[in-house]
């Protein structure tokens, strides 16, 4: 088993994964927690697993292009509740001014009730995982830690070993929620590099409809590590529109796994928007476990400086007559790097699968770089699967055309960059997120009105 060894500068002794467990999760074994006994067992298993595997290295096929040793080399400590104060004014930087709906805020992984909505609409129960477990919610026991695999994924194991609290969203059968529910995870690392392990469990019952936003954000300049795990269970015929907006500090590490399980006729759309972070890794996995499922995974990310965005997606077609559509687009400037790995599995039973994957990257600088790898494994014979990857620069003819009409060079570049992302942006149904992205894409150009 490969794992990184940490060199302790003072004592020069090599440290095994257990020491990370202590620093990163506050426990060696996962045993000391106030929750129910099944949670202790879960934590202990995850801790034991992490102690065994440690952090992945680049010899690991799934981490070939992304080196996580900077995480291992930074002296992170688990953020305490006391370090997690944030005023309402401080919060305003991270919320959407004009977003209708309700929100639940966590600061450094700790729930901030004073910053969160007091009530939620009918048909949905939003509370902390700790509160749900204190109520002995059978749903939490049934689903928590079941789909996100700590036995194979180091960072999921680390998150699970630290599992104490998080967000629990339960949408009742038949509930139609018109306004989005916003889960906002903020990091403030004023006291030095801290780590938090946001954990989210979302259970959506049959025939319901909901829009969910998960935001991860932090103050510019701060060094911290967000190690997030989200599990989503989508019931029959439910319609879910999910947004992940990642705008961590430009010095932050963000590693996240999202695991979605779908059943018959479920309709799930994901929009993953990557704006911040120094080193970012997203694992987005969808399991299509019933017939007639529609699954859309879209992503767009904007890299600058030396940012690294590593997106791994997996769509597992286990049953017949399901459609999946996937478009990931990267815009890379300066020395930024992107990685896209898109797996599509079509199991033996999954006849009549229609799967379409597209990965497009716009390189705005000669020093930017992308490694892209589609990975299709098809075991059924009557299926339609396509994938395509393009890597390119701004079209010189189009650039000249715009300039020949009087549009300044920088504005023309911004406009074409915007156009590159536009098919993803257009599919964003939440106005506040769409206009946020418009602003970022057209930043400093005179063209803001263009996207009205």
């Amino acid at each position: 088993m490969e794992f990184l060894l940490k060199t302790d500068m003072n004592s020069e002794k090599l440290t095994a994964p257990n020491s990370y467990l202590r620093d990163f999760t506050g426990t060696d074994t996962g045993s000391d927690n106030p929750g129910p006994s099944w949670l202790s067992a879960l934590r202990q298993n995850a801790a034991a697993r992490f102690a065994e595997v440690g952090f992945p290295t680049r010899r690991d096929e799934e981490w070939r292009f992304t080196n996580v040793s900077p995480i291992a080399e930074t002296p992170f400590t688990l953020a305490t509740k006391a370090q997690s104060e944030l005023s309402a004014e401080g919060l305003s930087r991270f919320t959407y001014q004009d977003l209708a709906g309700t929100q639940m805020v966590f600061v450094n992984g700790h729930f901030a009730s004073d910053l969160s909505s007091a009530t939620f609409p009918d048909g949905v129960s939003v509370k902390t995982l700790a509160a749900a477990m204190a109520d002995n919610s059978p749903l939490v026991e049934k689903h928590l830690g079941k789909s996100a695999k700590f036995d194979t994924e180091s960072f999921v194991a680390l998150n699970t070993a630290a599992l104490e609290d998080g967000a629990f969203v339960h949408v009742a059968a038949g509930a139609i929620l018109t306004a989005p529910i916003h889960l906002l995870y903020i990091s403030t690392a004023e006291a030095g590099p801290t780590v938090s392990h946001p954990r989210t469990l979302i259970i959506i019952e049959e025939n319901s409809e909901v829009t969910l936003i998960e935001s991860y954000a932090g103050a510019s300049g701060q060094v911290y590590f967000t190690n997030a795990v989200t599990e989503v269970v989508v019931g029959e015929n439910a319609v879910v529109d999910h947004y992940k907006v990642q705008r961590e500090s430009e010095k932050a590490f963000h590693i996240a796994t999202m695991q979605v399980s779908l059943t018959r006729s479920g309709n799930f759309s994901s929009h993953s928007i990557g704006l911040g972070g120094l080193l970012v890794r997203n694992d987005m996995n969808a399991y299509l476990g019933g017939e007639g499922i529609e699954c859309t995974l879209n992503g767009v990310y904007l890299g600058k400086d030396k940012q690294v965005f590593d997106n791994h997606t997996s769509i597992d077609h286990a049953m017949p007559h399901c459609n999946s559509h996937e478009i990931y687009k990267g815009i890379l400037n300066d020395y930024s790097r992107g990685v896209f790995n898109g797996k599509i599995f079509v199991r033996e039973d999954a006849q009549k699968t229609d799967a379409k994957q597209t990965n497009q990257t716009l390189l705005l600088s000669p020093n930017a770089q992308i490694d892209t790898k589609p990975q299709l494994e098809i075991f059924a014979d009557d299926v339609k699967c396509t994938h395509g990857a393009t890597i390119g620069q701004l079209n010189a003819e189009a650039l000249f055309y715009l300039r020949a009409r009087g549009i300044k060079k920088d504005d023309a570049r911004a406009l074409l960059t915007y156009a590159f992302a536009s098919d993803i942006v257009r599919r964003i149904k939440v106005d506040a997120i769409r206009s946020q992205l418009d602003r970022v894409l057209l930043a400093e150009s005179a063209l803001e009105g263009i996207a009205e």
Binding site: F400, R403, A404, I407, K409, A419, A446
Partner: protein, 257 residues
Amino acid sequence: MPLLEITDLHARVAEKEILKGISLTVNPGEVHAIMGPNGSGKSTLAGVLSGRDAYEVTGGEVTFDGHDLLELEPEERAQLGVFLAFQYPVEIPGVNNTYFLRAALNSIRKYRGEEEMSAPAFLKLVREKMNVLHIDQSLLNRPVNEGFSGGEKKRNEIFQMAVLDPKLAILDETDSGLDIDALKTVAEGVNALRSPERAIIVVTHYQRLLNYIVPDFVHVLSAGRIVKSGGKELALELEAQGYGWLESGSTSELVAA
């Protein structure tokens, strides 16, 4: 003062000399036609004037409205009032036609020290010009040129010209590939813009367009040189004789106008 003064212009592309000493004077209010066979350098001349960077100017001067045109970026030329209707208009997926045009107009207005045009005023202007060119409303809401037919693309160029109100319009084969109705529409649009302040250079392969846009001067371009200049009759003579006489190298066969 001439609006455009081209003196002994030489230019090359990919190490190949294309323009071999072109001189041309265009005054406000004039319409000049530049005719010539395939590959004679018509688009190269249009490209050099609008600032396309594939071309390298190796000699000569171009003065536009008192400015050294060759020193300027393409957008600065447009802001000063140079407009090129492209021989092959570019499709730009993801950029809405209306917003593109408004951004262009406002960029030009800003340069001229005018206020940005409000959305309602802009729409009013656009509707007016659309009617002249029989442009379908739906084209406005589509991405720039994307999926447009050949004729729609050419009309869209002239429509843009009408909205941007340039001092000098260079139309590069705006007539090619158009059926007679579309040709008349385009010509009507161009004629509506003829004015004592504005000059127009019509680059074309065929005489046909010049029945509808009647030029003040006609120039024949061959192998990078203007080999003949004359009045509008020159176009008819060219039509009658074809370009074959150029290849034979004898310009004397062509009766001077």
